[in-house]
Amino acid sequence: MRARNRELFGLVPAALLLTAGFAAVFIQESGKLSNVSLVYGAIFLGLCLAGHIFIRVTLPHADPYIFPLVAVLACFGLVMIYRISGATEARQQAQWFVLGLFLFAGTVMFFRDYRKLENYRYLIVIGSIVFMVLPRVPGLESATQTQTYGAYLEIHVGSVTFQPTEFAKIGLVIFLASYLRDHRQALAEGRKIFGYRVPPLKHLGPVLLLWGVAMLILVFLHDIGSSLMFYGGLLSIVYVATQRVSFVVIGLVAFGVGAWYLGTHIPHIDSRVQAWLYPFKPSLYNAQSGSSYQIANGLFSQAQGGLFGQGFGQALLTVPGTHDAYVPLSDTDMIYAVITDELGLFGAAALLLIYLLLVARGFKAAMLARDSFSKLMATGLSAILAIQVFVIVGGVTRVIPFTGVTLPFVSYGGSSIMANFILVALLLLVSDRARRPTTT
């Protein structure tokens, strides 16, 4: 079968999932939702098809599984949001999806030769870092829930809320892939001191800069999760570029020390760590601020799920008789807890498997790529996607302290959807170039 036909075939599960999911939620909540909302499901399906046709025309050789996997995730997310927040939010999400597809198309059109991104690498990295600290700029800082949860991850421009970190992660990956393409040889070799290869300091500089950026995120944004996501993604590129485990080990130790020091000195991060360590301590659970209410309730919700889950629409989201959320941020940061509650261990594991397959296809594109920049960029993008999933799901499942990053393509929110579509566009561009038959 030709690659594009395989892709089209791969969209069938997404279509089925969307249809079945919407029908199930609709039947469950027919009292509350109108017929019209079903139309959005159909439109969404049409968008997936449009995306496919676009890829068929512009990227004929690209990996055939990446787009269907993204479609499955997005469809799944849409159904969950339809169920959790209702038709209005699902429509919003569908609109973000449309915008995301346009960004996707735009990226593919403008950066058909994505290697020209390299020319702007310093612009990109400076832009990304500035972008990232925007939430701390007076006047732009968000007054919404994210800040009340203690981290600075959003900016407000007019009525639009924006999460710059989602976009900055792509910029940083592009920069590092480009930089290491040039310097990896020097980093990998270096001089031997006491039998250990120490890379020349001037080449090590940017790597140290990364550590600095990660610490910056901790200090400025108060968010250990975003910080971990960036740092993990970037260390992945360093490792693949230099093939030296020692960089990773030193990098992780340095991060650990820095995170520990800052964590114990920034109250918000400390309270997150406390909530992670002792979620069931009554004084923490009932605390006014820095409470473990959210994380503990998320765990209680997951316990309801069992192997197969309670079924769509069965999870308890608000305290009955009130408007108080039982699991705060259930459609964004905590969506994994709701998924586990309703679809059980098997449903949650299936979702993780889809992410893993997507990551695998990303790495596959990296392996097939013929030049270092493409390889490193695809590796970085795939790794940062995987680590993002790990950070948020790990936070919800108490592997690591809980922090506010989104579950890519599934969580409600425009910035996340749009940024991740750009990420996917870049992966497909790398893949298309890599798999294009060489004309010899």
Partner: protein, 501 residues
């Protein structure tokens, strides 16, 4: 670089394995612990959304129902209020507290029992609980309350009686009446934590206590039925056996008198029961011995929590009670101090340290009425789901053949004599051959020296023994069971029998 990418992917896979492992931990391995965590209110919240089933009296009157409140939750309403509060109890989902039948049948009423719980989870969920059909009779219950609340029913003081009425169908164990005064309004149980909130009058133990099941009182001479059953069924005596009825006699080194220190001369056992002669029964109990008395007490249900569909912690077992440890002691007791030493003679006339629930005495009299067979008392007959299907039923269960049917017949005849010509004559209604036994247990002395008694009467209609009644009224000045309890019991029997016809 490709090898490094493969290794990197392996690391990512490892991270995902950790995620799946932790998800498994919360969903499967630690799920029960999480669900039992006191901070986890999900079960409570879920129960708020369940429309609990109704509790329906035998005559169709609704005793408990759920009405919708705002926000998709339900409020529990008790249309009969304080009339059935002691027996039905309450369910306060918001507070997570419950009592009585509401607690015992909580699973059925909230639909957990019938919900199709499978490995696939409960599709649709059980939002409607099952209805509970009770054995209780609302009209007779209302009569019990009326009789206890009537001014003067318990002596010159016009306040309502403190006490309990229990009526059981001897052949099936169905409890038709269980009323306890003072009571409370179960529509607002939290209001009645303090004694002063009780209606209709203050009571030492607060008013949430169901005296019929948890209150323990000296049974007085009604206990002579147990002693008589032991004497006859063991074959050691017959109703015609003769005893000396002279007063006083010395029991455990102290003199024991009959009422008014009356001496009866030589009497048969029948006469001794009829006139409730202490000086016959105390030596009789001593001659039967501790083991035999204990054996028959146990057969009647003493020394164990009643096999009733009710929370065990809201019921008391009956027997000799050590006041210091609040534990029951079995005759002859360890006898290491005054409090755990059983005075067998005085126990045989229902004094000493006997502490007995009204339900226990109702079980004793029902056993005699049912030819010596004790049926498990029960409060509910069936559980019916929203579609009208019976999902659970509670058929009559035989507890024990306490005495031979012939002996029960002899005892019945003796009890008929009590009402016809003995201490229970005020229960002798025309057209009803009521058999029974009075009890008058001195309990306390008021500040001005007035002695107080618990007045008891247990009885049943001998010609058609389809109901057995126990009435206990607490702390009445000169409170003879024959004066105060017997007329109430007779009224109950009359009404319950009239209803059946």
């Amino acid at each position: 670089m490709n090898r490094a990418i493969v290794r990197l992917f392996a690391v990512m896979m490892l991270l995902f394995v950790v995620l799946v492992a932790f998800t498994s931990r919360w969903t499967v391995f630690s799920a029960t612990a999480l669900q039992d965590n006191p901070l986890n209110k999900l079960q409570t919240y879920a129960s708020w959304k369940v429309k609990r089933g109704k509790i329906i009296a035998e005559d169709g009157v609704v005793l408990a129902k759920s009405v919708p409140a705002s926000g998709g939750i339900w409020n529990r309403k008790y249309p009969q209020g304080s009339l059935f509060a002691q027996t039905i109890g309450y369910s306060d989902e918001q507070q997570g507290s419950s009592a009585g039948m509401e607690q015992f049948f909580g699973q059925q009423l909230s639909g957990h029992k019938s919900a199709l719980a499978s490995v696939f989870g409960s599709f649709g969920g059980a939002a409607v609980g099952d209805d509970l059909y009770s054995t209780l009779d609302s009209k007779a219950q209302a009569l019990a309350r009326k009789l206890l609340d009537k001014p003067g029913a318990c002596g010159p003081n016009p306040t309502p009686c403190t006490g309990a009425v229990v009526a059981i169908v001897p052949q099936t164990g169905a409890v038709r009446v269980m009323y306890s005064n003072p009571t409370y309004d179960d529509n607002d149980p939290n209001k009645y934590g303090r004694d002063s909130d009780c209606e209709p009058n203050p009571f030492d133990n607060g008013c949430l206590v169901n005296l019929a099941l948890a209150g323990r009182f000296p049974p007085g001479s009604t206990f002579k039925l147990v002693t008589t059953a032991a004497a006859l069924d063991s074959g050691k005596y017959t109703p015609e056996s003769t005893f000396s009825g002279d007063s006083p006699v010395t029991i455990s080194g102290r003199p024991l008198q009959n009422d008014s220190n009356h001496s009866y001369g030589e009497v048969t056992l029948t006469q001794a029961l009829t006139d409730s002669i202490n000086t016959v029964y105390a030596p009789l109990g001593l001659s039967l011995g501790s083991n035999l008395m204990l054996e028959y007490m146990r057969r009647f249900g003493f020394y164990s929590t009643p096999p009733l569909q009710y929370p065990a912690n809201e019921m008391s077992a009956s027997g000799e009670l050590d006041e210091q440890t609040q534990k029951l002691v079995k005759p002859p007791g360890p006898c290491t101090n005054y409090y755990n030493c059983v005075d067998l003679g005085r126990m045989s006339i229902g004094q000493d340290k006997l502490a007995v629930t009204p339900l226990q005495m109702a079980m004793v009299v029902a056993t005699v009425a049912d030819r010596g067979k004790l049926m498990e008392p029960r409060l509910a007959t069936k559980v019916v789901d929203a579609e009208g299907q019976v999902v659970e039923s509670f058929p009559p269960v035989e507890e024990d053949q306490v005495m031979k049917p012939k002996i029960a017949a002899e005892l019945q005849a003796m009890m008929r004599d009590v009402v016809e010509e003995g201490t229970g004559q005020s229960a002798n209604l025309e057209g009803y051959q009521i058999a029974g036994k009075t009890g008058t247990a001195s309990t306390a002395v008021t500040k001005d020296g007035q002695p107080l008694d618990d007045a008891w009467f247990v009885g049943f209609p001998i010609h058609d023994p389809d109901i057995a009644v126990a009435v206990m009224l607490e702390n009445i000045p000169e409170g003879y069971g024959g004066t105060y309890a017997a007329p109430i019991a007779a009224q109950m029997i009359k009404t319950l029998q009239a209803e059946d016809r």
